[in-house]
């Protein structure tokens, strides 16, 4: 599909549609929607911003390409004055006091936020069922999950309720729901987009990223949000990616895939066959394809969850109801902390906090947490070696098709293992894009750190090839 952003921009400029009509239409769709994608609508602020864009157009002023484009925000980003709940009971009535850097950059470019989107509470989940706002229903088959944790964002884009949405990806939370709902979703190189104003889950892999219906829209939004930010000291300088750069699809000579992802019993037969068929089509274009060795899925999943749980136990320790949140008073301060957290956190969030504190405890940290860090280093080294041999690595997004709503909550271990193909790239802090092609839940394209442009280039190549 071509750029939705550019198409709407043209319609606004040529006065085929007013911005107010456009925003109102999207708000109406969101209000009527039965997929549980919206935690709160930003109706009055969105319509005010739309009126300003209309005034500019009728005065004959030029508008930027993102000006007046309605978008959605996963409900873990700060946007001053809006409810920011993380889909949790604890922050059900919490209002952002300030605005996240990535969101501010979009506001500065004139894009209009219209909805705070449903997700797994604090990003803890792979199905968007761990939420107080009701399970997000898949855009294609509402009996299935929307994927997670950025499920509401993916479904909104897939159903055309938003033009693009901003998700958060810690272990696959943009790429997996993008795959489940057949759209594009990018986890950029770690640090390319500032995390300031994103509620922290696991800070060493948390990434801000766009979900959209075209590669071009992903590129436009990525460029606007990227850049070093003094408020996030892990953020990095990066160059803007031009449309011409990603249109040049002849740069990739060699690609790789992890053979142990494909040659195992856990992968759905259809996904496996479709993936292998895509590999053959790529080979037919004269590209060399190498089968690479990689860590076993259970090692990847366990390393990721060990580190992510340790980090979330630390990050969520601030949520005690003292300064904000749904405080439940008890006889003294310590009891108030404990009751507030016990009553307000979901079972999955508690499971992860407890797991994190387990591995950080004396007697456990050496044999689990520190070993997890060592494994992560080995995984990163493995990627470094691979990218000396290949330009791009491709992989299925998930081993299976989306589960039915209700199934994931019954079996947390199965849910963790379903992240097998996404978490490795998170640990490597690599740029990875889900494209809605190749298998029924898409294909991931990965390049070496900071080579986000190569990922988009190869996506353009695959658009015509598979």
């Amino acid at each position: 599909m071509d750029s939705q952003i550019k198409k709407i921009h043209q319609q606004l400029v040529s006065k085929e549609i007013t911005c107010t009509e456009l925003v109102q239409r999207k708000l109406d769709l969101l209000k009527k929607n039965t997929h549980n994608t919206a935690n709160s609508l930003l109706e009055s602020s969105a319509l005010e911003l739309a009126a300003k864009v209309d005034a500019k157009i009728s005065n004959g002023e030029t508008i930027g390409v993102l000006e007046g484009i309605p978008f959605g925000i996963k409900d873990v980003y700060m946007l001053q004055g809006t409810y920011t709940t993380a889909s949790s009971n604890l922050l059900k009535h919490y209002k952002s006091a300030y605005t996240a850097t990535a969101i501010q950059k979009l506001l500065d470019a004139g894009a209009i936020p219209i909805v705070k989107e449903n997700c797994d509470s604090f990003g803890h989940g792979s199905s968007s069922e761990n939420t107080i706002f009701g399970a997000v229903k898949n855009a294609i088959n509402p009996e299935l999950v929307g994927g997670g944790s950025s499920g509401g964002s993916a479904v909104n884009v897939a159903k055309d309720y938003t033009i693009f949405s901003i998700g958060g990806d810690t272990g696959g939370s943009i790429r997996q729901p993008a795959g489940y709902n057949k759209i594009y979703g990018l986890k950029p190189t770690y640090g390319r987009i500032s995390r300031y104003g994103l509620m922290a889950y696991a800070s060493s892999t948390d990434c801000v990223g766009p979900l959209a219906k075209s590669i071009e829209d992903i590129r436009i939004v990525l460029n606007v949000m990227s850049g070093k930010d003094a408020k996030d000291q892990t953020s990095i300088e990066s160059e803007s990616i031009s449309e011409e750069t990603i249109a040049n699809t002849n740069t990739v000579k060699t690609i790789g895939y992890f053979k142990n992802f494909i040659e195992n019993d856990a992968i759905d037969t259809q996904i496996k066959n479709d993936f292998l068929a895509s590999i053959e089509k790529i080979k037919a274009k004269g590209i060399e394809v190498k089968a690479l060795d990689f860590f076993k899925s259970d090692i990847l999943v366990s390393t990721y969850y060990t580190l992510a749980m340790a980090e979330t136990a630390s990050n969520l320790s601030r949520l005690d109801g003292t300064n904000y949140g749904n405080r439940i008073e008890s006889e003294n301060l310590k009891e108030t902390y404990a009751v507030t957290r016990s009553e307000n956190f979901s079972e999955e969030t508690k499971r992860r906090i407890v797991g994190g504190n387990q591995v950080l405890s004396q007697g456990f940290s050496d044999e689990i947490y520190l070993k997890g860090l060592a494994l992560r280093d080995q995984i990163s080294e493995n990627f470094n070696k691979d990218f000396e041999e290949v330009d791009i690595i491709i992989s299925p997004v998930t081993p299976s098709t989306p589960p039915k709503i209700g199934d994931s909550l019954k079996d947390p271990l199965a849910m963790y293992l379903s992240d097998a193909y996404t978490v490795g790239f998170s640990l490597g802090q690599l740029p990875t894009l889900t494209i809605p092609q190749g298998t029924s839940t898409g294909i991931q394209i990965t390049a070496a750190k900071n080579n986000d442009a190569h990922v988009l280039q190869f996506a353009n190549f695959l658009k015509e090839t598979i």
Binding site: K95, L333, S342, A374
Partner: protein
Amino acid sequence: MSKIMTVDILSSIKGAQPSEAVNKLFDVIKNAHTENNESFNNVNNNALSVNDLRDDVVIESSAIEKQIIIENFPKEKNGYLVVSKVIEE
């Protein structure tokens, strides 16, 4: 200080217990083979250089920010923001 802290105390979550699903993940790590211990020295690859640290300055919050922070505070009495009783142990 030989007091043993259980996970429910460490997590401030009443009755919290380690979960079977999570323990299975940890068992995989315990049994995993790491190549050598040298990689333990590499773990801080997200560290920043001292020159990259931002200036340590106090930035005044805007009026709207202050107002929202007060609005978010869970309890107010006679114009004061109230916290729970702190006990000495």
